[in-house]
Amino acid sequence: MSRPAGAVRPGARPVTLELATFTVDEVVVGNTDCYRDGRLEVDARALRALVRDVSDAFEDVAVNVVRPGDDARIIHAIDVVEPRARLAEPGSDFPGLLGRQATVGSGRTHRLGGLVVTTAGEPAPGEPTYWREAVVDASGPGAIYSPLSSLTHLVVTLKPDPRAFPDHDPAESLDVFQGTAAAIAYNRAARIAGLRVATYLAALTRDQQPDAVACYELSPVASRRDLPRVVYLFQMTCPYFYGQLWPREGSVGGTAPPPTLIHPNEVLDGALVNAYAMIACIRDCTYFLQTHAVIEELYRRHGTELDFRGVVIYTNGDSIASKGRIVNHAVSLAHLLGAEGAVLNYQGGGNPEVDVMLACQQLEARGIRTALLLPELGGGQGDSPFIHFVPEADAIVSLGSYEQTVQLGPVARVVGGARLLEGDEDASGPLQLSLRYLLGATIPYGQHVLRGVEY
């Protein structure tokens, strides 16, 4: 069909996300809720009421502020969220968990800069504890290990009500990572509580002028630029995807869905939310999803050094068959996007590394060059940092070994609890801990500057 010369084709409108930053220079716990000129005042009673309203399973809620440089340590951290509010109509915050279903990633979203809402607290009865401990030091030697140490934390400490947790029926199938059905429900409520506080705080900026606005638009790159087409193969832990758990195969929550495409703006704007307390140093805290460093980095170079073609999200399989089903499809999607290069992350643990390596091998076999982001396993002398590798994995960025031991100094104030879950040590320290307990230390999305070197 021909069309008249000069006619404009009725195309789809571009997806444009504006992240409007309202910097928080000062946080005060007071009697009113207000954001003005960098000063955030919060009414702890109002916040506690907001949280108790989420679930009857919270017996008690405490609100504390931990600032960078404080002689303080957060323990038992659950999730970390950057305050965001999608104020323009038809806005919906964290659809599926807070708001009604709506596609995020376009329009203007308000964010508080430099402040995070951190949920913490002891595990619920029936919740496995051995992966659960997560520590953030606000100062001292521990602070260099976490990208979260330089942020101000509004810590919401949740105390589970034991009456909400009936004894586990041994006949009930137990989810090894998340525990009993009651524990799973409690932890979902804990995430929602953090999101609710975060959204409430960001909404205090309504009708105010932001300090800065960052614009994210995956505009087409003119073909004459001849920039390499790059995709991101995003191996997820098992987050909430628009409110629905996206499981890993076999372990958490059942069958892994096939890989799919997602607009990077959706990741940055609340489509994905942390669902469970994976090992602290590699935990996919919501904050790390909202500020995803690989996506930010590909955007930063889009149109100048590369052509960012999109994001493929997937989780891992647990058998040759399920790994094949998942990896083959993820690679096909990358190929379909016309990729010439791909960044892959490995989210840590055993099974997921096999999937990443298989994906790397298949991409390279199709002529798609790869670079991998890998947290290292192993800590001992001569201990291999790999579970599995393929000879094609010749371009790897190390995010640091999470088995190395670090010394943390004593602190005057501990928030979130009093004693460490493992070893039952007094959390005020000094502590000798494996790096795996430091929240975000080897975050697989590359937010941090740690790396392992051979000597």
């Binding site: 051995y130 076999g250 980095e297 001992g380 790396r451 000597y455």
Partner: protein, 362 residues
């Protein structure tokens, strides 16, 4: 020495030469060939044999004060006493650093150099360096304990090996820290530590990908390891009359986990009595493994490690079941720890006269 000091017009005081003691085998010390391999430890003051070449590379900065030698056969036959004697002889020269080899591709000589270097470091507190081909078995044996300069597989590589050895010997002798293996020219120790990079991981990854796409040089931050290849033994034609043991990686323990085997990062194994146990029932056994959904395994722990099936074969007279179940948790386990656990379990099995093993993995 800094470049600025050379231009400020002042005379530099020549430093006292570093005292270097060498260890060589009978051939490279000039004592004799294979027929002299049985010669015991001995020494020559100053540089002898291959140490003469090293002295030329050291120049005025270092002096070979003594050359200690030992025959390869002699040392291999009585390593403990021979290495102790060699170490005593080296100590006599009060060295700042000991240089052993180069051993090139020779396995016996390489192991001797590794043992001498380790003993000198551990007993005399003196740094040591050796050189050999990367495939020399001693490289793996002493990885992380001894600094090894890579060489070619034969003595034809001597002219390349000696300057590198001399440079590292001087640095170690002065007590200076070594730069990373790639920059300094020695084999990686296999040990890794964390440091701060100058850019976040995501920026480094995109940089690396773009260099790779443009065909520019790039350096991985995580070189691929070389794993041991363990050739499997030939299959058994029959288990008739054999004593067969069960080893579980899946964390099978008596209910209540009396030894508190951890769910991950295990550093121990446990052994449980199977006398009178024909079947791992859910009321008596469970798994503490934290890396998979254990519901099905806890309903019937035999599916992690088949006690019931082996008892059935035993009833048919096909084998004898060793009355101990060996158990650990592989979840998140480090390769080095697991290698140790495997060796410990194997030694225990061998001592008990076990002839075949069924290993249940998850």
């Amino acid at each position: 020495m800094s470049g600025l000091a050379a231009h400020d017009g002042r005379e530099e005081t020549p430093a006292t030469p570093i005292r270097v003691a060498c260890y060589l085998n009978q051939f490279f010390a000039g004592i004799g060939g294979e027929e002299a391999a049985g010669v015991g430890p001995g020494c020559r003051d100053g540089a002898a044999g291959a140490a003469l070449g090293l002295q030329r590379c050291l120049g005025n900065a270092g002096q070979v004060v003594g050359t200690v030698y030992c025959g390869d056969d002699y040392l291999a036959a009585q390593p403990a006493t021979a290495v102790a004697a060699v170490t005593r002889l080296l100590a006599r020269y009060a060295p700042d650093v000991v240089v052993a080899g180069p051993a090139f591709g020779s396995g016996r000589y390489g192991l001797a150099c590794g043992q001498v270097c380790a003993a000198v470091q551990e007993q005399l507190g003196v740094p040591a360096v050796t050189a050999m081909h990367p495939d020399n078995p001693a490289v793996e044996s002493f990885r992380g304990r001894v600094v090894v300069v890579p060489t070619q597989s034969t003595a034809a590589g001597m002219p390349l090996a000696l300057p590198a050895l001399a440079r590292l010997a001087l640095k170690l002798g002065r007590g200076e820290p070594l730069d990373p293996p790639g920059a300094e020219g020695y084999l990686p120790s296999g040990c890794r530590r964390n440091e701060r990079a100058d850019a976040p991981g995501a920026a480094r990854a995109v940089d690396m990908l773009l260099r790779k796409l443009r065909g520019e040089p790039f350096a991985t931050e995580l070189p691929l390891p070389r794993y041991d290849r363990v050739p499997p033994l030939p299959p058994l034609s029959t288990t008739d009359g054999l004593r067969v043991a069960l080893v579980a990686e899946g964390g099978v323990v008596p209910r209540g986990n009396p030894d508190r085997l951890p769910s991950a990062w295990a550093t121990r194994w446990a052994r449980y009595d199977l006398a009178g146990v024909d079947d791992l029932t859910a009321d008596a056994f469970e798994t503490v493994h934290g890396g998979f959904n254990t519901s099905a395994a806890n309903r019937d722990p035999d599916r992690l490690i088949p006690v019931d099936a082996l008892r059935a074969l035993e009833a048919q007279g096909r084998l004898t079941l060793h009355p101990r179940l060996y158990s650990t948790v592989g979840n998140q386990g480090s390769v080095a720890v697991m290698r140790r656990l495997g060796a410990e379990i194997a030694a225990d099995l061998a001592a008990a006269g076990v002839e075949a093993v069924v290993v249940g993995a998850t």
